[in-house]
């Protein structure tokens, strides 16, 4: 039973993992992540990479929607910007992989600023509507501009990192997972500083926040820019992973996917981003499994897409009504139970 932990310095109190047990678990988790690629089969490696990409993007969206309280339905558009940037750089100029990813993030971030400036001045609601419009505009641009390959999109050769060609899930794993870890760490760190606190203040009570010294527009733009940057990098990773990018790759339903991920996982919590992304990525897989098991006609395959839509929507509605703090809160409840055991409360 663990009731409290003794801290002997302020720095220790501010640490992310603040007890020996937590640090031990962290080491175990790290070990698992390192071992996984060697014991998993191709399918699970593929899933692991996909999950990691989704975690990175969710962490970005959570920063904006969960912590700062600004709903965005443009995550897909910004991931698309990142993906296309990476693809174009790779195909046309063969620039180094890490540089491409950075560029993808920056381009997405600039897109975010362009979208954010008009829509963040007054209500957060406007951001949501403008981001929906942005998703369609992005699709329009991707499909109609020549250098984005038009409706057939772009396909690229595998990326190279330190001389190694990243053409299998195994190899991509070593790019995607550490990068995602870094991004998660960044997000967690943010909320130990004044920047993160400012974001939460904006969500909870933005008018008072301004009087207390937080320039609202600047910080809202910062939040949106950061979250778009994350989306752009995630999109770049997506590009290296799938290697085929078309305008249809980043539809509005993808934005809804990520919104569902943070609602289900837990808004305003780094753990929530992880849990939500894992859950949402696995749901379509479980669905596919169920469909495969059903003794039926191939007709059912066509139902996969709408059933997914219904499930995403139902998850959003269900969690918002019944468990607004998401899986992260359920997790915390379970932990509390074990900490206090054998006492009840």
């Amino acid at each position: 039973m663990r009731i409290g932990t003794l801290k002997e310095s302020y720095v220790a109190d501010a640490a992310l993992f603040d007890s020996r047990t937590q640090r031990a678990w962290l080491v175990v988790a790290a070990a698992c992540l390192v071992l996984l690629p060697f014991v998993a089969n191709d399918y699970w490696l593929y899933m692991a990479c996909l999950v990691a990409i989704n975690i990175a993007s969710s962490a970005g969206l959570n920063m904006l929607t969960g912590y700062t309280g600004l709903v965005s339905l443009g995550q897909a558009a910004f991931m698309g910007l990142g993906a296309y940037t990476v693809a174009i750089l790779q195909i046309r100029w063969g620039t180094p992989l890490l540089l491409n990813l950075l560029a993808g993030g920056v381009v997405a971030m600039l897109g975010g600023v362009v979208v954010g400036v008009p829509s963040l001045r007054v209500k957060g609601l406007y951001l949501a509507i403008v981001t929906i419009a942005a998703t369609f505009i992005a699709h329009f641009l991707f499909a109609n501009l020549e250098f984005t390959g038009g409706t057939s999109g772009l396909s690229m050769s595998p990326g190279r990192l330190f001389g190694v060609e990243l053409d299998t899930s195994f190899r991509l794993y070593w790019l995607i997972v550490p990068l995602t870890m870094l991004m998660l760490l960044g997000a967690a760190n943010l909320f130990r500083t004044r920047i993160g606190r400012a974001f939460i203040a904006i969500r909870d009570r933005d008018i008072s926040a301004e009087v207390l010294g937080i320039p609202l527009l600047r910080y809202k733009l910062l939040s949106f820019g950061l979250s778009s940057f994350y989306a752009g990098v995630a999109g770049g990773l997506w590009a290296y992973f799938f290697r085929v990018i078309t305008p249809e790759s980043f539809p509005l339903s993808m934005s809804i996917f990520f919104l569902a991920a943070i609602i289900v996982g837990g808004m305003g919590s780094t753990l929530g981003s992880i849990l939500g992304a894992v859950f949402m990525t696995m749901v379509p897989e479980v669905l596919k499994l169920v469909f495969d098991l059903l003794p039926a006609s191939t007709n059912l395959a066509v139902l996969l897409s709408p059933v997914r839509l219904i499930i995403f929507g139902a998850l959003i509605v269900g969690f918002l009504i019944f468990e607004p703090l998401g899986l992260a809160e359920m997790w915390r409840r379970i932990r509390r139970f074990f900490h206090l055991w054998p006492f009840r409360n």
Binding site: Y126, A133, V211, L303, V307, G313, A314, I316, V317, L320
Partner: protein, 293 residues
């Protein structure tokens, strides 16, 4: 050399389309005024109305005079159901929750439509006169014209009801001050339900007309995006704004489609949206929220 005749035609068509936007925007404003909920699924409610009409008129082959009211009423019931099951539980929560719930709702509606009716585009049975309409020398597609007329009739009806019927007054009262409305004896939850029911019905009428003109499909919800632009331009809580902005946006889209090409419609809408946000963030007629510190 400017073809004024063509311009006039394009403007008329645009304005007629704007009438439809105005009707759907009215549906949105109704719910916002009564419950302060931003219904992002307005486009999907419109789509639901179109599909319900399709079911009654085409699939069950009901006569038109039965199918249309049936579709509208069924939509109303859908609206009431949504309010009760999904919106009411979120009453005390921050408004952002209800907002996100409507996103989920839209997704569910699209999925349901695709499962039940398939994702392909369908044609709705014609029920409007087919004689071409001429305004002076300008040609107006009959469906567009009659669609706008029907929309105008419904808008007028709603405005009158709002103004003179007790329920309409109750709606306005609840919109401005819930607590006071309770005190005066207004059944606030019933008003909430009513607003969603009527809103869904109006959206259904809009959907039936839009569907009649361009067919119905599971991606009809994109119409909702233009409606959202209309309500932002007009002011989220302004009925007059919905009407005026509907016409404006319809006009702009019509001009863009005619002179730049159909794909530019959305771009034009977006430009209008951004323009208005920069100049008048509360919309043309919206009330500026005076927030208390």
């Amino acid at each position: 050399m400017m073809d004024w005749g063509y311009l006039f035609e394009v403007c008329l068509t645009g304005l007629a389309g704007g009438g439809l936007y105005a009707l759907a925007a009215l549906a949105f404003v109704l719910v916002y005024k009564a419950t302060r909920v931003v219904n992002l699924a307005i486009g999907e409610l419109l789509m639901a109305g179109g599909y319900l009409f399709f079911t009654f008129a085409a699939m069950w082959a009901l006569p038109l005079w039965l199918a249309i009211p049936a579709a509208v009423l069924a939509s109303g019931m859908l609206g009431g159901l949504i309010e009760r099951l999904v919106i009411r539980p979120l009453l005390g929560e921050p408004p952002i929750s209800a907002f996100m719930v409507t996103v989920g709702l839209g997704s569910i509606l699209v999925g349901l439509v695709e499962i039940i009716w398939g994702a392909d585009q369908r044609r709705l049975p014609d029920f409007m006169p087919t004689k071409p309409v001429m305004v002076g020398d300008a040609f107006l597609a009959p469906k567009v014209f009659w669609g706008a007329v029907i929309a105008a009739v419904f808008i007028a009806a709603v405005l009158l009801v709002f103004r003179y019927w007790r329920g309409g007054v109750a709606l306005r009262a609840t919109a401005s001050d819930q607590a006071a409305a309770y005190v005066v004896g207004i059944n606030v939850p019933r008003v909430f339900s009513l607003s969603w029911v009527v809103s869904a019905m109006l959206a259904a009428v809009s959907g039936i007309i839009v569907g009649s003109i361009g067919g119905i499909s599971s991606s009809m919800g994109v119409f909702g995006l233009s409606v959202l632009v209309v309500v932002i331009v007009g002011g989220l809580d302004s009925v007059l704004g919905a009407l005026v902005a509907g016409l404006i946006v319809g006009l702009v889209e019509g001009l863009a489609a005619a002179y730049l090409g159909g794909e530019f419609k959305l771009l034009a809408t977006f430009v209008v949206l951004v323009g208005i946000l920069m100049v008048r963030p509360y919309g043309l007629f919206g009330t500026r929220d005076i927030e208390r510190l």
